[in-house]
């Protein structure tokens, strides 16, 4: 396959088709609507299910229903729409069926705006729906990476009977880049021993998230956490850049990581020993590599397009052994490499206090600039 110019959202849609997507249910919302539009053209031609639902509530419950049959199914949305889907996600998790959801994140909270943001990290990684449930969250930083992670997300969801979310900010969804598509995989519905597809020549099956007996629900939650342990052991993915001798380690995912890389290159040209760790799986989070880097770095700098959400996971990994600084732009603002370069240079010349609250220090600087 040759490299072609692909728009992020359309690339995701085509990559899902090629990964054997059998059914898509969605609802229009900027900046992800091209996924819906693309699949509305593509899926019916292939004899596969496409449906524009009446709402995100409808869409995620259609996904839930199709997932119960064992079909490869996904939905996509953007921040406010994903909030509406949280009910369904919790049920899907509690029923232990595989499903894929793409969140092309925009500025928030509330209606916010349609500019790129990463404010849904906590919702995706730590919370969202009610109850205890783990989920796999992948964070691509380019169109090519989004394509590559699409097929993986279905495989992981099915392997672990778990939700896999792809979180990317609006810029990855909207930008066009040269990228290579994988070969078309034919949809080949697996014969799962749990799928409710009609009890032909077998005993009937029930799929439900109800465990009325608290002890049974507790066992279910234990089971989910045991499975999560396997995910943590086997599925952590990240990219390392210039880390071999790095004294300052930047941690950033998605676009924030990508912009940071430009800043790292510029800082390297100025002789600063700085590197970048870009988590690809933000859940499971790469705690182990951060632990290792803690022995090497004198300071971490977390860069995000939110007010410091992944920051807390980094702090948990670093456990106060070295200072952690934070730089973020939020509300739909994408940082320029220069801003991050300034941060790197500041950290390089003025040591960061281990006692300072990184978010407060950042906020003080940001609001002082504005004032």
């Amino acid at each position: 396959m040759s490299r072609e110019l692909w728009k992020g959202n359309e690339a995701i849609a085509e990559a899902a088709v090629r990964a054997g997507l059998e059914a898509y249910f969605g609802y229009p919302i900027t900046p992800q609507t091209e996924i819906l539009e693309y699949l509305s053209r593509r899926m019916p031609k292939l004899g596969r299910a496409f449906l524009q639902a009446e709402s995100e509530l409808g869409a995620i419950n259609m996904v839930y229903g199709a997932a119960c049959t064992g079909a490869r199914v996904m939905s996509s949305s953007s921040s406010p729409g994903v909030s509406l889907m949280m009910e369904g996600l919790s049920y899907i998790a509690g029923t232990e069926v595989p499903a894929v959801l793409v969140n092309v994140m925009r500025g928030g909270p509330g209606l916010g705006n349609i500019a790129p943001a990463q404010g849904d990290y906590n919702q995706a990684v730590h919370g969202g729906g009610h109850g205890d449930y783990p989920r796999i969250v992948l964070a691509p930083a380019s169109v090519q990476e989004a394509i590559d992670l699409m097929a993986l997300s279905f495989d992981l969801a099915e392997k672990y009977r778990m939700i896999t979310m792809l979180i990317l900010d609006g810029s990855v969804g909207q930008m066009m880049e040269p990228a290579e598509m994988p070969e078309m995989r034919s949809p080949n519905r697996k014969k799962f021993d749990w799928a409710t597809d009609g009890a032909l020549n077998r005993d009937r099956r029930v799929l439900s998230s109800i465990y009325l007996d608290p002890l049974a629900e507790e066992q279910t939650n234990f089971r989910l956490m045991q499975r999560w342990k396997e995910v943590m052991a086997n599925e952590v993915r990240y990219k390392e850049y210039f880390l071999e001798d790095a004294e300052i380690v930047i941690v950033g995912f998605g676009t924030a990581g990508r912009v940071s890389l430009s800043a790292v290159r510029a800082a390297r040209e100025r002789g600063i020993k700085v590197g970048l760790l870009r988590p690809v799986t933000v859940s499971p989070f790469p705690y182990e590599v951060l632990d290792r880097l803690t022995g090497q770095a004198r300071t971490f700098l977390v860069v995000e397009m939110n007010t410091g959400q992944m920051l807390e996971d980094v702090r948990l990994a670093v456990r106060g052994r070295v200072p952690v600084a934070f730089y973020g732009r939020t509300g739909g603002v994408v940082p320029f490499p220069d801003e991050i370069l300034d941060e790197i240079q500041r950290i390089n010349t003025e040591p960061v206090s281990a006692e300072a609250d990184p978010r407060q220090s950042w906020l003080d600087r940001m609001t002082a600039i504005k004032a």
Binding site: A66, V73, G198, R204
Partner: protein
């Protein structure tokens, strides 16, 4: 005791499991369940049927039918059923929903499933209150009817008017079969059975969305004996929710059941 086959006049449908139901004495959920099970038996579709249970008193419907079953979030059964049917168009998919589930929290899902003409069958139990949570006011609660959340009786000035679902949905193009029946006496139960059969036949032949609304009792939450609650359906529910065929398209009229 074994009954000789030639003496057997009434047996458990094959589409039922052996589990006794959890429904209150006098509740008509059991009757509605049995009618569905008899229809699945008659149509010989037990092994190709997927039921979608709601949230409400019938949340455990999946325990009683010997078919594949899933359990939907509150009100979302038509959306889940849509997802199933769209990837398995040759299966029978039905939802079983109460009035809180279908006419309140799930209003969006039911209207759009009907408008799209999804080839689904919906069995809608209207007993004018939220049974499982202890008898709160539902969109279907009659004016003046006392419930635990309308203790002075439903005041239409502040709490609005009942919603007539069969009538409403029958206005939609995608609907093939939409009727209202009652379960308050044997004659009406027989008519209900026929309607349920027609609804499933509608789906089997791909003739569009089908729904049977069933007026039902809730003796426990209504504070009535089972017999009085049947009378209440006849005297108060039927006048407020007139029984009838609200929409039957021509091809469905040709179906003989």
């Amino acid at each position: 005791m074994t009954i000789a086959p030639n003496n057997l006049v009434y047996d458990r449908p094959e589409a039922f499991t052996d589990m006794p139901t959890h429904y209150c004495p006098g509740c008509t959920h059991g009757v509605a369940h049995r009618l569905i099970a008899e229809v699945l038996d008659e149509m010989k579709v037990i092994d190709r049927t997927i039921g979608v249970a709601p949230v409400g008193c019938s949340v455990f419907a999946y325990n009683y039918f010997d078919t594949d079953f899933v359990e939907a979030p509150h009100g979302r059964a038509p959306a889940m059923a849509t997802g199933i049917k769209r990837v398995l168009p040759d299966r029978i998919v039905f939802t079983y929903q109460g009035d809180g589930d279908l006419a309140s929290i799930g209003m969006g899902e039911i209207v759009h499933a009907a408008a799209r003409g999804e080839n689904l069958t919906v069995i809608f139990i209207n007993n004018a209150n939220y049974g499982m949570t202890g008898g709160q006011m539902a969109p279907t609660t009659l004016p003046g009817m006392k419930t635990t959340s309308s203790p002075d009786g439903r005041d239409v000035e502040t709490q609005g008017y009942p919603i007539r679902m069969a009538e409403m949905l029958s206005t939609l193009e995608g609907v093939g079969y939409c009727v209202k029946r009652s379960l308050h006496d044997p004659k009406n139960i027989r008519l209900a059975k026929k309607a349920i059969r027609t609804a499933f036949e509608t789906q089997w032949r791909g003739l569009g969305f089908s729904m049977v609304e069933l007026l039902s009792t809730c003796p426990t939450n209504w504070g009535m004996t089972p017999v009085n609650s049947l009378k209440f359906v006849e005297e108060h529910m039927v006048p407020a929710y007139p029984l009838g065929d609200y929409k039957i398209t021509d091809p469905i009229k040709q179906i003989k059941v």
